[in-house]
Symmetry: C2
Subunit: 430 residues, 2 copies
């Protein structure tokens, strides 16, 4: 239905940011204030400036009494609704297509465009609350097999509801932020007593984060599953860093806590449902049939390739060792939203929902090291000969995600973090 | 050390709000905008107006470049630090003591004072994130005994760390808000399959909420336990409403979710550490000795009487049936803060930390119905002859808290909610 469009801005081959994408983020120039932005190729486009200059003049935006992009984050924009999101997206695509009024307007282009290498990314939204699910069957089966053996791998509730827990939003950081190895309490199964130590089983988790938008539901009024997608603004890559040794000791009976709340990293650009629509895929029928509040007319996900790469202090060049895909979901984002609100919880624009670790069906599709190394038993062997059971100081872990190829590629950019050594033990003596 | 002070405002006998208290909240007149406030007796005092009129002119406040109380909430104030909090508190006490410059200034008094019956309370702060702990030994022992029997009541980690989980802040409401009975998935131990139903085991939990203030710690830099109290602005009463039948099915392995996130109620006035100082009490020595990061020089809580009252549709008059106390804590608030941040989590001003249900040593000290009725086996029998295993539609549940008596009483006001019937099942068919 949409006309083929061509950006007049240079889009390098294999760029994540074709004109078919138009993701939303927040950027700044060196020492400048953060501004809402999109990116085409290597050009970061200042949306606050475009709005100020009157370019968002569609039928819906024209009715708004005040600015949307003036606040240094995307929260106001995300709080609107899909028709508004679509209008702005279309206008951006038109403005930067060959033949548009802007193409030869050097003065305006100079005001709104900054080369990506002169910018820095920030969290795209002030996150309201963060919830993490556990919705990939391959991952749940592998983790359950490691802990309880394959015959008891799946907990009784897993096929009936999208299991999830409330996480911590204050420690969510953007791509490129260093991650300090945590201290915590641990107790090995064979140990008589717990000890207080630097984390020895530091892990990542490969996830997709859904950025919630739209008007909040009232407290006490659950979101119907077939209307839930109205509340999905778009997606980011999410690395849910995990301290496995801390987690196994602390999580009974109230769930993960310090093992997760020390940091989570997201990719900087929110890729919208609109951009991902061509990559929507049907998910397999669910058995048992979900309860009415989880029963979707259209049970779908998106065909998004996910990759994990690692670099070490000795061998900094990143090596790709894991390939997964957002299609390996059992519970959809819409089902997660319906379940999150079923008891009455009011879901807010700006909330972030993690998919849970997404694992494929093969060993190189396992979405975390605990799974990949089968709880520290089968090392990941890198080309350099270095081995990893869990992350070591100086390691760089990078996640990438993309759908489609060439001119139709819609990508997420990167989600990267480097492990810093833990604090000295004297820190706690003071 | 402090001089005896006497308010010139009328303070009814047994008022929670003597001049020794000076709690902080947010109020509005009918149809007016919310303003930061304190209360003495039955007089609500507008702090935004006092600030505007230049009354907060102490050495610290004078150095601030901008207003603190101008935002309709207490977040800016709470983000300052104890010396600022003390300065404002002292100034308010002086201003409203007999003999102050204000005593006969009818014009100013008319501007800043509203009778409590002409006001309405709002959430005192925009809550950042909410964490709920599980730190009362009596409660943990009773719950464990119900589930696993007295010999296995305590989980292995319980005596080593303050177990907690991240909760949901969007559904935290202020005293007086009606609570809708949730729908959810449940599975009785004897049932073969789960079902989707109106909650049949609706419960409350009697807790104290610590309101976190002060400057945030950097991500990756834990808060030292002996400095943690700098981060406690004050306390509220917290009712952590709980859907027990939903909880028992959903909580494996990631903890409570929909069973808790449908609503939590707090009392409207934050009572400060300063007001509670005369009621500080030593907690018993901990065995085993806590790890270094949890080892306090001074392991304390506060002697705060806690009460639970119930009214029913048939017998609306509130009946007091439970008495507990904040002294029944095993882990202190400071230990909760140290543990929450030990892996590196950045704790923000405006966060709320729930104590966990606080139970005394006797049956009428049990802080929730699941405990009181021993999981629905021993009914609570009211004076009217009505019985309760769990909460029924139309029930009103009220919590109260106070320390001291007479002119020295420091109270929390009330934390009250009424149970509305669940939604009709057709709601989910649409
Ligand atoms: Ca996760
Ligand atoms: Ca609780
Ligand atoms: Mg995390
Ligand atoms: Mg609750
Ligand atoms: Ni009483």
């Amino acid at each position: 239905m949409q006309q083929e469009i061509q950006a007049f801005l240079l889009v390098p081959k294999d760029s994540d940011f074709t004109i078919k994408n138009i993701p939303f983020g927040v950027a700044s120039k060196a020492d400048g204030l953060p501004f809402p932005a999109t990116i085409i190729g290597d050009s970061v486009i200042n949306l606050a400036k475009l709005e100020e200059l009157g370019y968002f003049n569609g039928p819906l935006f024209s009715t708004l009494g005040s600015k949307v992009f003036d606040n240094g984050n995307l929260n106001k924009f995300v709080s609107l609704s899909r028709p508004y999101w679509k209008e702005v997206r279309s206008q951006i695509q038109s403005l930067f297509s060959t033949g548009s009024q802007l193409e030869n307007n050097k003065e305006v282009l100079a005001q709104v465009i900054t080369p990506v290498q002169d910018t820095k990314n920030h969290l795209p939204i002030t996150i309201g609350e963060y919830t993490d699910f556990y919705s990939s069957k391959n991952h749940a089966f592998n983790m359950g097999s490691i802990i309880r053996g394959p015959d008891n791998a799946m907990q009784p509730n897993w096929y009936h509801l999208p299991v999830g827990y409330h996480g911590r939003r204050s420690s969510i950081v953007v791509d490129g932020t260093d991650i300090r190895r945590p201290w915590g309490q641990v107790k090995a199964p064979t140990a008589e007593k717990p000890s207080f130590t630097k984390c020895k089983r530091l892990d990542y988790e490969l996830e997709i984060g859904a950025v919630i938008g739209g008007a909040p539901n009232n407290l006490g009024e659950p979101i119907r599953v077939n209307q839930a997608e109205d509340r999905v603004f778009g997606f980011v890559i999410l690395n849910d860093w995990s301290a496995r040794d801390v987690q196994v000791w602390e999580y009974v009976p109230l769930g993960p806590f310090g093992a997760k709340n020390f940091a989570s990293t997201i990719s900087p650009w929110i890729v919208t449902i609109e951009a991902l629509e061509p990559f929507r895929i049907q998910l397999p029928e669910q058995d048992p049939e979900p309860f009415v509040y989880l029963k979707e007319k259209n049970h779908t996900s998106f065909d998004i390739n996910l990759e994990v790469l690692i670099g070490t202090e000795k061998t900094p060049e990143l090596e790709h060792f894991t390939t997964s895909n957002f299609k390996y979901m059992y519970w959809s984002v819409n089902q997660q939203i319906a379940h999150h609100s079923v008891t009455g919880c009011n879901i807010q624009p700006g909330d972030l929902f993690g998919s849970g670790t997404i694992s494929g069906t093969t060993k190189d599709g396992r979405g975390c090291l605990m799974e990949y190394t089968w709880n520290g038993k089968e090392p990941l062997v890198l080309k350099s000969g270095e081995q990893r059971l869990f992350l070591e100081d100086g390691d760089v872990l990078e996640m990438r995600g993309f759908a489609g190829e060439g001119e139709n590629r819609v990508g997420f950019g990167r989600c990267k973090g480097k492990i810093l050594p833990a604090l000295d033990e004297n820190y706690f003596q003071q």
